[in-house]
Symmetry: C2
Subunit: 432 residues, 2 copies
């Protein structure tokens, strides 16, 4: 794209976009250009009424009877099966429960047990140094409990490290900072070739890019409900385990909902068959019902080509963003910190702040937010290798091509006017 991209061109893309009607599924606030769905997805239009129904009818009127009459007791499996359709899990292989961090503790504990049982010499959990911190913190804990070590490497150094002591390779498929996406099938095959188990965190993948856990022959996965799945703030998360491992471990969070017969009230724990043992406490019905509405917004794309069609639009959005950065922000000093090869990119683009300190990325993002363009800011160490970042997420269900144009337009204007210099005020970081 060498000739200048105009807003009219972008509007024409939107007019021709077969996925454009999916945007009507959301209750988007006026005056907001939301490019932060990688952090917290927007509110589906159906959610408020559904939550009200759960609160008023199912809880308020149905009371305790709703565990059966409203199907509460099978909600983790029902929503799990729906998410499974987005990530290549078969029915009955995936459940919704707890948080991503808690689920990671469960599956990584399982992976550690299985790896050690198969080969006691495998004592190392390998991950990426810039993986999302909660993954690293949980891995630190699991490693200590199992007498293992956690080794953190740059992503490109990982294949060479997968030796005979590697027990588990744990990666987030799309890096939360750079937006770089791993090839799930290829990396899983590398791990398996080295004798290691493969655990994927799909926090920035589920609902964002096509995922095929069974097709990739992965071992374990967890994922987040409140990002691209539009489940709401702190929505329940999910976990998946390949059936070949499903009954080979003790799930340490052995709560009653993961018992083979929870309502028999036996004093001893007997794990439920298969994925059921990943449940722990009583499921959070209100939040899980909201999550179901969010997942339904993605399943609504199935007649239009599903995740493959959404991915094609996501790539088109991020390509447009990158082209506009080059055209409009070429001399700004901002760098593109996300792979230029679309195949290596998730559904976000991160712009690096120049290491010379000439741009205050935090203040620039505040100025953007003040204009209704919501991305987010993630501090790095400020070097060219790990710069401070302006992150922009593209959620193809509701992001339009004109939204991308308008965001760059606002950013170019802010940088030109240096109006961001007035936007320096303190606030706390937001939850990714």
């Amino acid at each position: 794209m060498t000739e200048p991209i105009t807003r009219a061109t972008c509007a024409a893309h939107d007019a021709a976009d077969p996925l454009a009607p999916l945007r009507a599924q959301f209750a988007l606030p006026e005056g907001v250009n939301y490019l932060d769905g990688n952090s917290l997805g927007v509110l589906p239009a159906a959610t408020a009424a559904r939550v009200q129904q759960v609160v008023t009818d199912e809880w308020g009127s149905g009371l305790i009877r709703s565990w059966n009459t409203a199907g509460w007791i099978t909600l983790p499996q029902r929503v799990g099966d729906k998410i499974g359709r987005l990530v290549g899990a078969k029915s009955g292989e995936l459940v919704v429960a707890d948080s991503t961090s808690v689920n990671l503790f469960k599956v990584l504990s399982a992976a550690a047990q299985i790896a050690r049982a198969d080969d006691p010499a495998r004592t190392v959990i390998v991950s990426e140094r810039s993986n999302f911190p909660t993954d690293l913190y949980i891995a630190e804990s699991v490693a200590a409990q199992h007498g293992m070590t956690l080794e953190l490497l740059d992503i490109d150094a990982i294949p060479a490290r997968l030796g005979p002591d590697a027990a588990v390779l744990m990666l987030t498929q799309v890096n939360y900072r750079s937006g770089r996406m791993a090839d799930m099938a290829a990396v899983t095959a590398q791990a398996h070739a080295a004798g290691a188990l493969m655990l994927w965190d799909l926090a920035h993948s589920a609902g964002a890019v096509p995922v095929d856990l069974n097709g990739a022959n992965a071992d374990f996965a967890v994922g987040c409900g409140y990002k691209y799945l539009n489940g709401g703030p702190g929505a329940p998360a999910f976990c998946w385990v390949h059936p070949r491992h499903a009954e080979r471990f003790w799930q340490p969070l052995s709560g009653w909902m993961g018992h083979a017969a929870p309502f028999v009230f036996e004093p001893g724990y007997r794990p439920a068959p298969g994925i059921g043992r990943f449940l722990c406490g009583t499921p959070p019905i209100i939040g899980m019902s909201a999550l179901e509405c969010g997942v339904d917004t993605l399943l609504a794309a199935e007649p239009l080509g599903g995740m493959a069609a959404l991915r094609a639009k996501s790539v088109a959005l991020s390509e447009l963003f990158i082209a506009l950065v080059r055209q409009r922000l070429g001399g700004s000093g901002l760098t593109i910190h996300t792979p230029l090869d679309a195949a290596q990119r998730g559904s976000q683009v991160s712009l690096g702040v120049p290491p010379d300190g000439s741009i205050d990325g935090y203040a620039v993002m505040q100025a953007l937010i003040d204009r209704g363009v919501i991305g987010d800011y993630r501090a790095g160490d400020g070097t060219a290798a790990e710069p401070h970042l302006l992150r922009f997420g593209f959620t193809p269900l509701y992001t339009r091509f004109v939204d991308v144009f308008d965001a760059i337009d606002a950013l170019a204007d802010i940088l030109a006017r240096a109006s961001w210099r007035e936007a320096r005020f303190m606030h706390k970081g937001a939850v990714t």
Copy 2:
């Protein structure tokens, strides 16, 4: 009470009850006499609007900004402080997070670490055989991970077992089956005298009876949000730790929200000071906001005497229930399975089904529910020692004296007519 208790007498009690206005805080369904608040509390009238506000305004309009502008990020502490007022915890000592089962895993892991650090010979976790099963399942897991053993005893055999190998005594203060309540201060003192740590599950205590964790000098506690706290189905739970232990252990579920600086995104885990390290993943904002409304219904009793006044009414309700059982059901074969001494009773009464099989307790409870009287049925082994039970919970915030009268009236009528024999149909158990 030797002369027959009439409905008019009960109505007079209600008319004279200073706590009666608290019932207006709830959206109680028509035609339901709900005596199952020990399993799932009823819907507060304020909850639906508050949840709608969180969904529509805070999430829908505020989006990611609401982590700061709507105070989401401090919600676990804010609601925790409110619950703290009900259970004798100081501000900053208690947080809301995850489920009761998950929280029990955290605090029992902490207790096991501390006990072993102080005295490696202490290797036994002691609990009650008829404790709620999820507590036992989690304890089984923690014991195995720490090379400890779990010993389950009848409640009266526990003091003699607290020898030099006892690491932790873990009890639910009010037993879910019998409704028997332990004297928290006395039992804690027994555990400490034997050198063991004391962990209380307040699932059937918080919001039901006065609790003073600091006054009793307890070590750890967890509790449930969806029973007497009226937080809604699967509401988040809470945990508390005495400040003397707060920084003496590694919390195994070391997620990012328990990090000392979660938004600095460091690769290594540094626990937050104090109770903050009990947080793990991103807090479930919708469910936690609903829980806050439930907790507020209890705090509304503070000007009327608070938990002490609620307890006095609870005792009056259960005394009335027991008196009516004696007057109306004396020849039925049903037994009172809950201590007759009110000081040893929580806020429920359980009736035992005769071991001769002459009454089908399950069918009787179904017949009661068909008439709008909702208690629940818990199977035992059918012996006189552990009978099948009809459980009735008395929530003094909304249960009236006439409700108790009407429940016994319906039960007497059902038993007299044997209409329960027609009510045998299959359904699955409900969540306690």
